[in-house]
């Protein structure tokens, strides 16, 4: 069994939890303020995921970059591969905040989406 400190990253409170686990299975989680803490710890031990945010070039003169994010968290170990894929994508106006710019990004069912409006 392993015991370690883990910071829950789900909300800004950032609880500093003590977690015990064995073979990628959570046994105990302490010092979490709410129930989302143990859920985070469980995923973090088994298969950590993160939302990726980045920017992609646009064809607009006034707004050179479009901020983008993954619609869901993707496996943490894929972040750098995902950045390579991000670098191949361009944004073409018009676009609206929330529009899908790349479907099934890295993981099926996860999209890369636009973070702002872009007028022609």
């Amino acid at each position: 069994m392993t015991e370690r400190k883990m910071t829950c990253i789900i909300c800004p409170r950032g609880c500093r939890m003590t977690v015990k686990y064995e073979n990628n299975t959570l046994i105990e989680c302490k010092d979490n303020f709410c129930a989302r803490g143990p859920t985070y710890a469980k995923n973090e031990i088994a298969a950590p995921t993160r939302v990726l945010t980045s920017t992609i070039p646009t064809d607009s003169k006034t707004v050179p970059l479009m901020p983008v994010k993954t619609s869901k968290a993707i496996p943490k170990e894929q972040l750098f591969t995902a950045m390579k894929l991000v670098k191949t994508i361009r944004a073409k106006a018009p676009l609206k905040c929330g529009d899908v710019i790349y479907k099934d990004f890295m993981v099926q069912g996860t999209d890369l989406i636009c973070g702002r409006n872009l007028k022609v």
Binding site: P12, C15, R16, T55, T62, L65, R116
Partner: protein
């Protein structure tokens, strides 16, 4: 150009937008937002990471997404705004001088003003590092602007001085962009950033955080070539013999934010030395009648959600002032002491549950009670497991507590 506006909001960041929206929704139509940048949204436009809006929208948005929610609302409500417009001065009588790219010089007479100019970063000048002055030294926010708005590369081997949130966020961003972030140095024995940012921006990428360290020398003629660091003692002075050289081409300074208050001082508004923002009452009104302040220009916030809430209250209070005038009598000060660095509002006439008390502690501490005293009686008491200066704390008062505070003459907020 001379004009008259009932309400002018200075700054089109989240604070300015929320204040204008709330004033409009409360019945003021003659509103103008003045923003010096090319877009509404303020600092949010360059904060492309997720972490905004958990309280307000119950989901984790990126900065630009959060800003879009408000800009869409501004458009829908047809609130007038002027971009590329820099306010040069405000006088005590609430007249504003601004200069705009397409309208030229503007003299604006107003009945009420909301200050929402945000804050700016402390620079190297403010922290004094010895050595040469090569290229490659940026504040973390400037670097963020170059990378996230302009799409420029700033360097390959990076050191970050200061463990504030902007520095941490930039450490991750630069790493994902392919740069090598060698270390984050922090003068104090604890970090000023949120725990979640240390976890997901540094630990995720094995970037070392060196606490109690500072820079004692800078090397490089034209471009930065490296820095010399040293550990510091309890008095924060470098320990001789602990120096080490780190090769790097870029240094980011993330050493804190200060409210941007030149205009505020210009209007003869009283400033609180601890927050570097205006002294306000429970209505977010400054010492000058009809001038209100909210957001980072008032005190540095860590969370935009609190900025939006506070600004919406400022908009509502400005509306009440325009409609009824706010009658001022005697104010009572809220004294921040025994581990509490400041409290906003600093003074009040009559508190209601609508007004939260915001405060920060002086140093990190475990298991303490936060208490509000009214003439020696603890009318509010709450145990906190962990308190740190990097997290703004908030106290929500109920009717009963407000009544006691309104009756008392000596009010203080402290740790016990």
């Amino acid at each position: 150009m001379n004009l008259h506006k009932q309400l002018v909001v200075i700054g089109g960041g989240p604070a300015g937008m929320a204040a204008a929206i709330s004033a409009k929704e409360n019945g003021i139509d003659d509103i103008l937002i003045l923003e010096r940048g090319e877009f509404l949204g303020g600092i949010l436009n360059q904060c492309i990471h997720a972490g905004f809006g958990l309280h307000t929208f119950n989901e984790e948005l990126t900065g630009p997404e959060y800003a879009t929610r408000y800009t869409d609302r501004i458009e829908a409500l047809k609130i007038e705004y002027s971009l590329n417009t820099m306010v040069l001065s405000i006088k005590k009588d609430k007249t504003i001088v601004a200069v705009s790219r397409d309208k030229g010089l503007m003299n604006i007479k107003t009945e009420a003003v909301i200050l929402a100019m945000g804050c700016r970063e402390r620079t190297r000048g403010a922290i004094n590092i010895a050595g040469s002055r090569p290229a490659g030294i940026f504040t973390a926010g400037t670097a963020q602007y170059y990378i996230n708005i302009m799409g420029k590369t700033i360097g390959k081997k990076i050191v970050i001085l200061g463990s504030g949130d902007i520095g941490l966020i930039m450490a991750r961003r630069l790493t994902l962009e392919g740069a090598e972030v060698k270390t984050v140095l922090e003068l104090l024995p604890y970090s000023n950033g949120l725990g979640r940012n240390i976890a997901q921006c540094l630990e995720d990428f094995d970037i070392p955080l060196m606490l109690s360290h500072t820079i004692v020398g800078i090397t490089g003629k034209e471009r930065l070539e490296g820095i010399t660091i040293a550990s510091v003692d309890e008095k924060l002075t470098p320990i001789p013999g602990s120096e080490q050289f780190i090769e790097c081409d870029t240094l980011l300074l993330s050493v804190g934010l200060i409210p941007e208050n030149e205009l505020t001082t210009d209007a003869e508004v009283e400033i609180d030395q601890r927050t570097s923002g205006a002294v306000i009452n429970e209505n977010l009104e400054t010492s000058v009648e009809g001038i209100f302040a909210c957001g980072n220009v008032l005190h540095v916030h860590d969370l935009v959600d609190y900025v939006s809430d506070e600004a919406a209250r400022a908009g509502k209070k400005a509306t009440q002032y325009l409609k009824n005038g706010i009658t001022k009598n005697e104010y009572k000060n809220i004294i921040a002491q025994n581990g509490v660095r400041y409290c906003v509002p600093q003074k009040f006439e009559k508190l209601t549950p609508e007004t939260p008390l915001f405060f920060r502690v002086t140093t990190p501490c475990d298991r303490r009670f936060v208490a509000v005293f009214a003439d020696g009686e603890a009318v509010y008491k709450k145990r906190e497991a962990y308190l740190t200066p990097s997290e703004m704390q908030i106290i929500k008062l109920n009717d009963e507590i407000c009544e006691k505070l309104n009756k008392a003459t000596q009010i203080s907020i402290e740790l016990i």
